[in-house]
């Protein structure tokens, strides 16, 4: 499972607006890369480009050296899974049925075992026969993630996976993401919470106005100068008693 994702010179133009330009990114198995940046910086667009959702105006994205456009839809679905920001499901499917849809590109003897494992991991096994629409948003997010896990891909692209989670659920979610990475998978996650990125990401990529302005280890990239510039807000980075970095807006 030695996956690598590589994007070179990604350029996305939509309705005449330049959304991304010249973005390079490399992700290896064992990495959890956080994509950061203010709203409108192009984070979700980048995730869509990495997923192969649309044709690029320039550049190329490849998985294991093969450009996405050369993959068949099924092979691509076996290589990468995508957790979108929000999902509306149009019919009252049960939790188990939704997680089972993650097996779409496989449909083999492992299906049931993988579905069970995914539901256990996201702690939704007890919701198995509930209908999705009756769940809380936090539960829905975990079910969607279980579906993504059921797809059993070496590469996972997560778009703001923690947006609707409380602080406890958020910590548990990122612990799972780290465990996936430790298993040898690669994860790219769009995150809003800088402290979460600092704590869990193996690498961060900061987007600003459609361009990549920083790419490296969280501690070395997330500096007061860079963050203050990107977010138009004075931001300070302090160190707690136990030696962890904490990012805070400067308040008067």
């Amino acid at each position: 499972m030695n996956t690598s994702l590589s994007a070179r010179g990604v350029r996305v133009v939509r309705n005449g607006a330049l959304l991304l330009d010249g973005v390079d990114i490399d992700v290896q198995a064992g990495e959890l890369v956080a994509v950061l940046g203010p709203n409108g910086a192009g984070k979700s667009t980048l995730l869509g480009a990495l997923a192969g959702d649309f044709a690029l105006a320039g550049g190329v994205v490849s998985i294991n050296g093969k450009p996405l456009v050369e993959y068949s839809p099924r092979d691509l679905a076996r290589a990468r899974a995508v957790l979108p920001q929000q999902i509306t499901i149009s019919f009252p499917f049960s939790v188990h049925e939704i997680v089972a849809m993650g097996r779409g590109p496989w449909q083999d003897d492992n299906d049931e075992a993988v579905i069970e494992a995914a539901m256990q991991r996201m702690d939704v096994a007890s919701l198995s026969s509930r209908t999705y629409q009756t769940l809380s948003v936090g539960e829905q997010a975990r079910v969607s993630m279980a579906r993504v896990l059921a797809q059993d891909t070496p590469l996972l692209l997560l778009d703001e996976p923690t947006a609707v989670l409380d602080i406890g659920q958020q910590e548990r979610f990122l612990a799972i993401a780290r465990a996936l990475v430790d298993e040898g998978r690669a994860v790219v996650a769009v995150l809003h919470d800088l402290n979460v990125a600092m704590r869990y990401a193996t690498r961060v990529l900061v987007l600003h106005e459609g361009r990549c302005v920083a790419n490296g280890l969280p501690e070395s990239v997330l500096t007061p100068a860079l963050l203050s510039n990107v977010y138009h807000q004075k931001i300070q980075v302090t160190t707690t008693a136990d030696g962890r970095s904490v990012i805070l807006p400067e308040r008067h």
């Binding site: 679905a77 979108p84 999902i87 149009s90 019919f91 009252p92 499917f93 779409g104 209908t131």
Partner: protein, 343 residues
Amino acid sequence: MNTARRPSISAVGLFLAVLFAMTALLSLATGAFRIPLGDLFRIIGDGPNRDTVDAIAHDVFWQVRLPRVVLAVVVGASLAVAGVIMQGIFRNPLAEPATVGVSAGAAVGAVIAIIVGLNQLPLGVQVAAFLGGTLSTALVYVLSRTDGKTEVVTLILTGIAINAFAGAVIGFAVFVADDDEIRSVTFWSLGTLGLATWKSVGVVIPLAVLGMLACARFSRVLDMLSLGDRSAAHLGIRVERVRMQSIAVVGLLASSAVAATGMIAFVGLLVPHIMRLVLGPRHRHLLWTSGVLGASVTLLADLAARTVLSPAELPLGVVTALIGAPFFLLLLRSTRRSQGGWA
């Protein structure tokens, strides 16, 4: 309904089979000329070419009753299955051939054929209806596509426009038609099984079978489409291709049904809705069970159309709409909450 508690598929299948057998027998026996059940089985045992019962009963059964029942079964099943597929690809339980304008397109084809005198030709109206339905399917599809994608809202709105246009054409046809043609136009645009012959049945069956065989392979894909186009694509579905294929299948099923019987509303809307309530939304069993229930419901509605004002006959579309519309409103109220929003 927090938990999806659903009956087993074998229990549902058995119930539907019994319901279907009973309605079919009842439909075969009942009508202006009653055939007692005992005679009915003997006539069936005799086959079409031997007669040991009664010459009139024999002819009524083989030349009038049976083709009518077969047509009801095929058309009812086609409309219901077309409804399931359409609701699946448009991710909306309110979609059906009528909503998107396929039925209206077929109706326009038939009405034009009547006005210009094509009804003098054998099957002229049916062929025109089929062409109209298929053409409007293609039209809806082309008009509602932008940037290689079909947006659901655009599609439904296009359907509304086509329905309005079709209504105007039919209204105009009624305006210019003579009395005889008006009778034919209205009767036909309201839907009826009264024109069933072995010839019309013979035209519909191959098209219906073709459409239903084709739809069997969509069941799992339709499930995944309910996650939305983007997530379905992430699971390896060629969303646009699937949508195009299934629209073609819907066009085939719906326009061949409308071509044979005229517009029969609500079967394609109501039947999938009921089956989804009973079995849940997975398409694997939803498709065929809706087909069986659609056949039974159409048989029952036709039975009512033939007997309520006997010997006069009500248009079938009037019966299905009279029963279907209030029933559907009730269903809407009681299920909307349990199914979540229908955005």
